[in-house]
Symmetry: C2
Subunit: 317 residues, 2 copies
C-alpha cells in the first residue's frame, strides 16, 4: 500500500494551485443560532467543475510525466470524479476515457463531454464495469486514476483542509461527508499534522452506513446496493481510505434521508448556495447531535454543487 | 431634493462596515465562454439577510442620532427592504415598523418577524398602504426609510460598487437590475467619481419596462400594475433615482420573463449560487445582446437570494 504523506499533500497543493480555486469559507448567523455552534462552510461546490474532486484529479493529471501523459488518463465513475478528471485532462490537453453506466444521468454525461472526456458505456453492474474498463484501459493505455483509492487523489483532497485551516483558526471539529473516503482521508492526512487538536468527524447517510459499521467493527464492511438521496456517497471504503479512517477519524455520525434533505434546503435558503444532497450530511448530523457540537467551532466541507435543478429532493412527489 | 454625494457614500461605507459583509466576486469559465465576455458576479445575495438592501438600511439606521433612534424606523415594502431594515434595526436594538400588504408571501413576513420587525398589514392597494403607513408613523414616530427614494439609502447602495471596483480592476461595464432605481443610483453615484470610464447599464424586465420607457422619453413614466417574475423590480422611479438614471446611465436593456428564468437557472447551475429572478436580469440582457458585451470586462451585481425554494420558476406548470 502506497500511503500518501504530508509532504505529498504539500507538493500536491503547489502542483494544482494554478488549476483550482481557493474556495471561500462562508458563515450564517442564522445557522449558528439554530445549532448553537459556530459553523464555517468551505464552498468546494464553487470549484469550476463544481466539486472538491478537481483537487485530486488535477494532482494526478499534472503529476504525470510527459511520456505518461501522452496516453492520457482513464477512470470509472458515474459522478463528480468523471467530470473533474475530464476537466483536469482538458486543462493539460490530454485524453480522458471514462467508463460510465449507461443509466447515469444525462446531465453527468453532458458535463464529462463538455470537458472533452470520452465516455464508454457499460451495464450498471460491477462485472460489466470492470470488464469494460479493462478493455478501455488496454486499448488506450491511459493511467488509471481511481476516484478515491489512489494516493495522488487523497493527497490532492487533503489540500482542501490545508486552505481551510489557513482561512479559519482553531476549529474544534472538521466534518465532511464519507462515501469511499477520499475527502475524509485527505482531511485526516492534513489535519493530523497541521491541526491534531481538530477532531475529524465523518458524516454518512443512514441508508449507506457501511463506513459507520466498518468503523465500529474494526474492518471494512461493504454495503450491498445501498440507496440514498446522497448519491455521491454510495461507494465503499478501500484499503487506502480505511487506513486513514481507522486511524484518524474521531467519530462517524449518520443521518436519515429526510434529515439530509432538510439540511440541504436550510443551506440553500440561508447560505444561498447550491449544493448536492451528499454535501448536506455534515449539517444534518450536527442538527441531529446538538449536544456534541454546541459551543464549538466547526468546519464543514461543502463537497459539491452538481444537482439536477429539475428534480429537487424536497419537491419530489 | 437632497442629492447624496460621493462623500456621503464614503461615510456610509465606514458607518455600515461592521454590519455588512464585503461580499465576494465570483467567476465562471463556462459563462465566460458562453457570452464571449469576461463576467464578474458580486454576490450581494450572500449578505446575512440575503440582499444588497442591507447596505442602505444600515446606513439609514446607524446614521440616526440616539434621540431619533429611540422611536425606531418605519417603512412600507413587501420585499427585501422590509427584511433588511428589520435586520438593521435589530442590530441597533431599535423598533422597526413595516407596513406590508396582507397578500405578501408568508416567507417574507416570517423573515421580517425573525429580525424583530413589527408588521401592520394593509390591503394590496396604494391608497390602503399610504393610509395605513401614515397611521403607523403617526403612532410610532418612527423615521421613514423609503426603499429607494432616500439619499441615505442610495449612498448605502453605492458602497457595493466601491467594493466591486476595489476587487476587480478595469470594468468596461457594470450591469445591475433596475426597479425603483436605488441600486443603479448608488452605482452611478460611486462610479461617476471612482471609475467614470465604466459604463453603467440598467437591466429591466420587459414586462415592467417603465424605466426603459422613462429613459427614452426623458421623464418618469410609471407602469400601471406591471407583472413579471422579477418581483423585486415592480416599483417605479422617483425623483432622486431619476436624477441619477437620467444623468449617468449609459443604456437600459430589457429581457423577457422566459429569458430571465433561463439566465437564473444558468447561474444556479454554473455559479452554484441561489439568486432571485430579479438578479438574473443582468445576465439575461447580456445573453440577449452578445455584440454589446463580447470581449468586454463586465461586472454584474447579484442583488438578492431570497427565493421560495418550493416554487422555482422553471418548475412552474
Amino acid at each position: 500500500m502506497d500511503i500518501p504523506t504530508f509532504d505529498d499533500m504539500l507538493a500536491a497543493h503547489e502542483r494544482i494551485a494554478p488549476h483550482i480555486r481557493r474556495t471561500e469559507v462562508r458563515t450564517s448567523a442564522y445557522l449558528n443560532e439554530l445549532t448553537g455552534a459556530e459553523l464555517f462552510f468551505k464552498c468546494e461546490n464553487f470549484q469550476e467543475p463544481g466539486a472538491f474532486k478537481v483537487r485530486g484529479a488535477c494532482n494526478a493529471v499534472f503529476g504525470l510525466s510527459d511520456e505518461q501523459a501522452r496516453a492520457g488518463v482513464a477512470t470509472h465513475s458515474s459522478g463528480n470524479h468523471a467530470s473533474c478528471l475530464s476537466y483536469a485532462a482538458m486543462r493539460r490537453g490530454i485524453p480522458c476515457n471514462v467508463v460510465m453506466p449507461r443509466t447515469a444521468p444525462r446531465a453527468k454525461k453532458d458535463t464529462v463531454r463538455r470537458y472533452g472526456g470520452k465516455i464508454t458505456e457499460c451495464e450498471p453492474s460491477t462485472s460489466s464495469r470492470e470488464e469494460t474498463f479493462a478493455k478501455v484501459q488496454a486499448e488506450t493505455g491511459g493511467d488509471f486514476v481511481h476516484p478515491y483509492n489512489d494516493p495522488r487523489v487523497i493527497a490532492g483532497q487533503g489540500t482542501c483542509s490545508k486552505e481551510f485551516i489557513e482561512q479559519v483558526d482553531g476549529l474544534d471539529y472538521m466534518v465532511a461527508p464519507i462515501g469511499g473516503g477520499g475527502m475524509i482521508s485527505g482531511t485526516c492526512l492534513t489535519l493530523s499534522t497541521l491541526a491534531p487538536e481538530t477532531k475529524v468527524i465523518a458524516a454518512e447517510p443512514e441508508q449507506a452506513d457501511d463506513a459507520y459499521r466498518s468503523f465500529k467493527a474494526g474492518h471494512i464492511i461493504a454495503d450491498d446496493a445501498p440507496k440514498t438521496i446522497a448519491d455521491g456517497l454510495l461507494v465503499p471504503l478501500k484499503d487506502l481510505t480505511w487506513h486513514f479512517v481507522s486511524r484518524h477519524v474521531h467519530e462517524i455520525f449518520t443521518a436519515s434521508d429526510p434529515e439530509i434533505i432538510d439540511a440541504m434546503k436550510l443551506v440553500w435558503k440561508h447560505l444561498r448556495v447550491v449544493m448536492e444532497p451528499s454535501s448536506a450530511v455534515p449539517l444534518a448530523v450536527i442538527l441531529k447531535n446538538p449536544e456534541a457540537f454546541c459551543g464549538k467551532r466547526v468546519g464543514l466541507i461543502i463537497t459539491g454543487g452538481n444537482v439536477d435543478l429539475d428534480r429537487l429532493p424536497w419537491l419530489a412527489a
